[in-house]
Amino acid sequence: MISIRHISKQFPSVTALDDVSLEIGEKEFFGLLGPNGAGKTTLMNLLVGYLSPEKGSITIGDQEVTRENLDIRNTIGFVPQSLALYDELSARANLEMFGKLFNLPHKLLSERINERLNAVGLYERRNDNVKTFSGGMKRRLNIIASLLHDPGVLLCDEPTVGVDPQSRNAIFDFLESLNAQGKTIIYTTHYMEEAERLCSRIAIIDHGKIIASGTSDELIDMLPYEETIIVAKNDSTMEHKAVLREFGTVIENDDHLLLKPGTGFALSKFFTRVEQEGMKYRWFELHRPTLEELFLHLTGRRLRD
């Protein structure tokens, strides 16, 4: 549905994207996970034809995305990373002004506006100036302003920046419902929790390169271990550190020990041994590895500092 082929984008001082290729299927909820400056926004801007690449091409459906192809914009919704709203105008006026650029019949537009405002719980505030809105409300308005033409593809560039957890969950639910209705969504974030919760497939981007991609499970499988084991820190476990080391690497944290299983690790053997040493099961907790750990593993850096 969306194919990105060998895209490179150069800014005067930096290569923002370096030979990026991705295929995104219809109705996918695709995540683009990467730290600050990785090139996420640049890729989004290229996807919507706001920027043109030096090399490579992008097609959506059967149309090529270019700066001149205005037609394709009718099939794409773009939620910019920064709020793109007229602060001095009401929510409704904002939606009317942006919506009418999509050549919708007046009545249809008006209905859609009400419907979308309701969907994100802003209908009651529709006549208030945007500048009186909370950060979360502006974010929600910023999203629906990109959905008035009912696009098949929705590009969300960090749509939850600076949003409280409650609003964030509301936004997640809304986006999931859109995906369930059949919209293809590309979602950028540097929160791995968001990517894991929302996205069926994820690409990890760093320094303008895709360093890994796949479903969440496929990505985790790239780690040389499956689970880590969190061990409570007490006299007994501290005494038995040497025993734990037999099963892998032990990292000592402030309030717990972390065991990264080594090669040939088997849970059954591990717990038999623990029992023999007189340690209690409840001191051990299985922990599924995260994308954060994968990023750390692949780059030696954390997603966020």
Binding site: Y50, E68, R73, N74, L101
Partner: protein, 444 residues
């Protein structure tokens, strides 16, 4: 085109939602205009007691009648003598009256020479002396004196007509008759005007031009003669209108300066739209950069037309500036001036890096162009080098166009050069702007 129109409508929606912008565009200029009017208003009542030096060397009853009328006019304080070194009052002669005007003793000096009106003359002859610094006052004086002289028309025309008809009677050539009448009309006011301070400066004042224009058109034939008579009537209207020469002159200047500020602010708002992300949102809609530019262009231009006309309207309400008698030509100049100002705003937005830069540079350019272009005081007050620079500014051509239309009551032929130059400047500046936008900051 549809997209341009939609964006254009959006611009108005944003504009009218922004009370400060509306205030700055309409209310503030109106208040300032009122204040200026109150401060400088004394210039308007100036004709009440304007000192003019008068010397009558002619014995003709017509000339005497003119002087007598001047004497009784409330507008003038007629001076016929000067104080010599000993402090005695001495009557002017042709040399001393000139010096009197030169030293600023009077706004203007009028001399009716010995041959002001003789048996053989076809018209009334007068000499004006004035300091170009007093141009405005001089215009007033001229207008009023013309009015006085016109009152003598019946007497003069009777005498001249007799002579002319004697000459042509019997030829039955209507053409010849018309030509005779035409020459009568054209010579009717043989005004020999000269400048004291700066004789090299061509006297392009309206009195001479209007005299010659009568001549030109009267050659065309019979019906024109009567038009010319009507023209004389309308010149009298101009003379009456001069009771407010200062406002007539100034309203266009204020309007231009305010408009430039409005348009600069509006163009600079492109940077705000970029910063707020709205520009990005527009450009990821089915909207191109060209659409945005055109919509901005049309918006600024239409706002310019509205603001300029509004200002003239205010001039009419407050200061009685005669806006409506030549309104079509006024609107043409307003259109051309708006086009030029709009392109100026675009130029700023195209080449500035930030809003602050656009506004700062804009303010600097607006103030200097307004000053040099004659928006605040007539360019004839300025040194010749500045005067030639002023012709490079569209402010000058707009101002001169306004004066042409409001002051001289000129028609389309007279303002055609102004329109051409303004549209031409607008096109060139716009082309440069488009080039600038391609590599500028706004759309990157």
């Amino acid at each position: 085109m549809k997209q341009v129109l939609r964006l254009f409508n959006n611009s108005y929606r944003i504009f009218f939602n922004d009370r400060v912008a509306v205030m700055l565009t309409f209310i503030v200029p109106m208040v300032l205009m009122y204040l200026f009017g109150a401060i400088f208003g004394s210039a308007d009542s100036g004709p009440d007691r304007m000192p003019i030096a008068v010397l009558n060397q002619s014995n003709s009853p017509v000339a005497q009648q003119v002087v007598a009328t001047l004497d009784t006019m409330k507008a003038f304080r007629v001076i016929k003598t000067y104080k010599d070194k000993q402090g005695r009052q001495v009557a002017f002669d042709s040399v001393t009256i000139k010096r009197f005007a030169q030293t600023g003793g009077a706004a203007a000096a009028v001399v009716l020479p010995p041959d002001a009106f003789t048996d053989t003359s076809l018209g009334l002859k007068m000499k004006f002396y004035y300091d170009p610094k007093n141009e405005i006052e001089f215009q007033v004086v001229q207008g009023l004196i013309k009015q006085v002289a016109y009152n003598q028309i019946p007497a003069i025309i009777n005498q001249s007509m007799q002579r002319q008809s004697e000459k042509y009677l019997g030829t039955k050539s209507g053409q010849a008759f018309n030509r005779g009448i035409a020459s009568l009309v054209s010579k009717y006011f043989h005004v020999d005007t000269s400048l004291i301070m700066n004789p090299s400066k061509a006297m392009a004042n309206w009195m001479n031009t209007s005299t010659s224009s009568v001549q030109d058109s009267s050659k065309k034939g019979g019906t024109n003669f009567f038009e010319n008579m009507v023209k004389i009537e309308s010149q009298q209207v101009v003379g009456e209108q001069l009771k407010n020469p200062w406002a007539t002159r100034s309203v266009g200047g204020w309007a231009m300066t305010f408009l430039l500020f409005t348009i600069t602010a509006s163009s600079a708002s492109l940077f705000d739209e970029k910063k707020s992300g709205v520009m990005l949102r527009l450009l990821v809609s089915p909207v191109s950069r060209v659409h945005i530019l055109w919509s901005k262009y049309f918006f600024n231009m239409s706002l310019g037309i509205i603001q300029l006309f509004f200002m003239f309207f205010v001039g009419w309400v407050m200061f009685d500036v005669d806006v409506f008698s030549n309104v079509v030509n006024l609107l043409l100049i307003i259109l051309a001036a708006s086009v030029a100002c709009t392109s100026f705003g675009m130029l700023l937005a195209a080449f500035a890096q930030t809003r602050q830069q656009a506004q700062g540079l804009g303010t600097l350019l607006i103030l200097s162009m307004s000053a040099v272009g004659g928006a605040w005081f007539p360019t004839s007050f300025m040194p010749p080098t500045i005067q030639s620079i002023s012709k490079l500014t569209f402010v000058y051509w707009s101002m001169d166009g306004f004066l042409e239309v409001l002051w001289r009551g000129s028609g389309i032929a007279a303002i055609a050069p102004h329109l051409l130059i303004l549209f031409g400047m607008g096109s060139v500046i716009s082309a440069v702007s488009v080039w600038g936008f391609k590599r500028g900051k706004v759309f990157e």
